[in-house]
Point group: C2
Chain length 362, copies 2
C-alpha cells in the first residue's frame, strides 16, 4: 500500500462518527457554527439553498467536533456515483476503478463503473444511463474531456443540470469543474533524465494519439526534456524522435520498431501496454532488453513487476490521483465549491530491469 | 479475438434491425404469429402477462422475419444491467466485466459494473443500489453464490421480486436461476495430464479457499486427475498434494513453497495470480522455472503471455462464458424461462514456457 495523505486535515481515512446516533450533536454543531439546527440539517442534507459561507461554518464546526464530514455524509447518503473510464483490459484503468471506488465507499457512496469500449455504450449514453439511475455525481477518468477534438458541452451541460462532476487525467480548460491529472511533463523528464544518465544519446518516444491531451502533454514534456538534456538541438529537432502510435501492444511494437530502425537505443513509452509492444519489437529483431535497447513504460500498472524483464516505468500515482479526485467530487457534492484550478499529481520513476547503460557506440 | 458461437441461431453478433422504423412490421409479426398486434407489442415490451407459448410464437415470427430479437429489444429498452464481480486488480475479472458489458450492449442494455473489494460495498449493498437504480437484471460473477458458507436467500429474494439474474462462475444448486460456470474438473485434468506426460511424478495443487465452489471443484478435479494418471493411490492420498492458499500472489508463494519443500516438481495453481506467486517461490529458492519446477496457472488473464517466463495456463474461456451468461440473462429478461441446468463451459490448456520435462530424479 502506498502511503497517501495529500492533505492530512482532509484525510479520508480518519476516524468516523455518525450523526445518526443522536440529535444533540446537531445542537452542538449549530451552537459552534452560530446557525440554527435546521441550517445544520440543510447543510448535512446537501441542500443548495445554503450560502457558501454558512456551509463552511457548519463544516468547520463539524471538523472541530472531530467528525469525519464525509463519513457523516455517508451515514445519510446512500447515493450512487458513476465512474466512467476506458477499457479495463488496460490494468491501470482497472486499478483506478477499484481505488476510486474504495474512496467513494469511504465517503459513503456506492460506486458504479462504466467502461468505454469500442463496442460499448458511448460516454453520452452512459451519462444518460447514470442520470436515469439518479447518481449524485460522476467521475470522468480519461474520458472525452481528454480528447481535444471532441466537444466539451456535455460537461458544461451536466454542470448546468447541477450534477457534480470531476475530470481526471486530461485537462479541459474550457470546462468549469474540478480537474485532476498527472504531471506528464515531469513524467517524461524523469524518464529522459534516467536514460541520459546511463549514456543514451538517442532516446525516442512512442506515444498515443496527439488527439488526447495526456499524449500531447507527454510529447511536449518529452521534447523539452530532450533539449534540456542536450540530446536535441531544438524542440523541432526533438520532435523527430517522437512516433505516435495506437493505444495497444501492436501500436507500441510498430512505433518502437521504427525508432530502433532510426538508431534509438532507448524508448520511452506512453503506457505500459505500449512498452510491452516495444519489448516485443526489440525481441523480434533479436535485440536484448535492456542490453541492446532500454525501454521505459508509463503507468506502473498492476503486475508490471512480473513482466519479462520486470518493467522500468513511470508510476502514474493512482492512489493520490483518485483520492484527490474523489475528495474534489465529495466537496462538489457537498456544495463546497472546490478549486477549479487543475490539480497536478507528481509521478515517480520505478526502476526495474528494462533499462541499462547504453550499448557502446562503436 | 476468439471465435465464439455457442448457438449460431442466437448469435448476438447477427444483423440488426429496429422496429422503430415503422408500425407495419408489428402487423407482419402479428400475422405470422397468429396473434394480435397488441400481443406483439406486449411481448416486445416484456410484459409478464403473456403466456410463454404466445411469447415464443411471437419471437419465432420475429426470427423468421430476420429481426435480431435482442437488438430489437435494445432499440426499445434503454435499461441498465448490473454486473457484480470481484476486484478488478485480478485481470481476469476486468476482462469479464468488459466482455460481458460488450455482449449486454449488443443486447441493447447499458452495463454498469460493481466490484466487490474488502473495503467496498458488500454484495447486498450493491444489490440495493442496483434496485434503486432500477436495473433490469443483474449478472453475478464469482459472487457470494460461489461461497458455500454464505446464505443464498438474497438470490431467491431477487427471483421473487421478479428481477432477472444469472449466476456465473460458481454453482449454487439451491438457487433457481440460470447458472454458467467453467468445467473446472476438466481444467485440472488438462493441467495434470500435460504435466504427467512430461514425466512429472509429484504434482501439487495450490488452490484458493475450500469455501468457494470453484476452488472445491478444482480440488476435486485435481485429486481425481492425479489418481487417473496413476500418480496417487487413492483420492485420500491425492489430497496430500493439495495446499489451500489465499487468493493473492503471496498466497501462491507460500503454498508453492510448501509443495516444493515436499518434493513436488510441478505445481498447478488455481489462478494466474497464484501462479505468479509460485514462480516467485521457486526463484527465491534459486530454482529455475521450468527447468527445475514447472508451473501451470488458471485463467489466462490478459498479459499473461508477457510474464517471465510466459505462463502456461488453463484458459478460462471468458468470451463464451460471458456470452452464454448474457444470453441467459437476456432470455430471462424477455420472459423466455431459459434452462436452470448448470451450463458448463469447456476450458483449454495454453502451453507457453513455464512447463517442461521433469528434472531427472537422481
Amino acid at each position: 500500500m502506498m502511503a497517501s495523505a495529500l492533505d492530512p486535515n482532509k484525510n479520508l481515512e480518519g476516524p468516523t462518527l455518525s450523526l445518526a446516533t443522536g440529535e444533540p450533536r446537531l445542537a452542538d454543531i449549530a451552537e459552534i457554527a452560530g446557525v440554527s439546527m435546521s441550517t445544520v440539517s440543510r447543510v448535512l442534507n446537501g441542500k443548495a439553498t445554503v450560502a457558501s459561507s454558512t456551509r463552511r461554518a457548519v463544516l468547520t464546526a463539524l471538523d472541530s467536533l472531530g467528525y469525519d464530514r464525509y463519513r457523516m455524509a455517508g451515514a445519510r447518503a446512500t447515493g450512487l456515483v458513476g465512474i466512467i473510464l476506458p477499457e479495463l483490459i488496460n490494468p491501470v484503468f482497472a486499478a483506478m476503478a477499484q481505488v476510486a471506488g474504495t474512496f467513494l465507499t469511504r465517503g459513503g457512496y456506492t460506486p458504479i463503473v462504466c467502461t468505454l469500449t469500442p463496442t460499448g455504450p458511448t460516454e453520452d449514453e452512459y451519462i444518460e444511463a447514470l442520470i436515469k439511475a439518479d447518481v449524485d455525481g460522476i467521475l470522468f477518468c480519461y474520458g472525452m474531456h481528454a480528447d481535444t477534438t471532441a466537444a466539451h458541452d456535455r460537461y458544461q451541460r451536466l454542470g448546468s443540470l447541477g450534477l457534480p462532476i470531476v475530470l481526471v487525467g486530461g485537462h479541459a480548460p474550457d470546462v468549469d469543474v474540478p480537474q485532476v491529472a498527472v504531471d506528464d511533463a515531469t513524467a517524461m523528464s524523469l524518464a529522459v533524465r534516467h536514460l541520459a544518465s546511463q549514456g543514451h544519446r538517442r532516446i525516442g518516444l512512442a506515444v498515443g494519439s496527439e488527439r488526447f491531451s495526456p499524449s500531447q502533454n507527454k510529447r511536449i514534456g518529452f521534447v523539452e526534456a530532450l533539449v534540456d538534456a542536450g540530446l536535441a538541438t531544438s524542440l523541432d529537432d526533438a520532435e523527430t524522435h517522437v512516433v505516435p502510435s495506437a493505444f495497444a501492444i501492436e501500436g507500441g511494437q510498430i512505433a518502437a520498431s521504427e525508432l530502433i530502425t532510426a538508431g534509438h537505443t532507448a524508448i520511452v513509452c506512453g503506457s505500459d501496454v505500449l512498452a510491452i509492444g516495444a519489448i516485443r519489437a526489440a525481441r523480434l529483431r533479436r535485440l536484448r532488453v535492456p542490453e541492446d535497447v532500454s525501454v521505459v513504460g508509463y503507468d506502473d500498472s498492476p503486475l508490471m513487476s512480473y513482466t519479462a524483464p520486470p518493467l522500468t516505468t513511470v508510476r502514474q500515482p493512482v492512489r493520490p490521483l483518485c483520492q484527490a479526485a474523489v475528495q474534489a467530487l465529495l466537496d462538489e457534492m457537498r456544495g463546497l465549491n472546490p478549486s477549479r484550478e487543475l490539480l497536478l499529481i507528481e509521478p515517480e520513476l520505478v526502476v526495474r530491469s528494462t533499462t541499462a547503460i547504453a550499448p557502446s557506440a562503436d
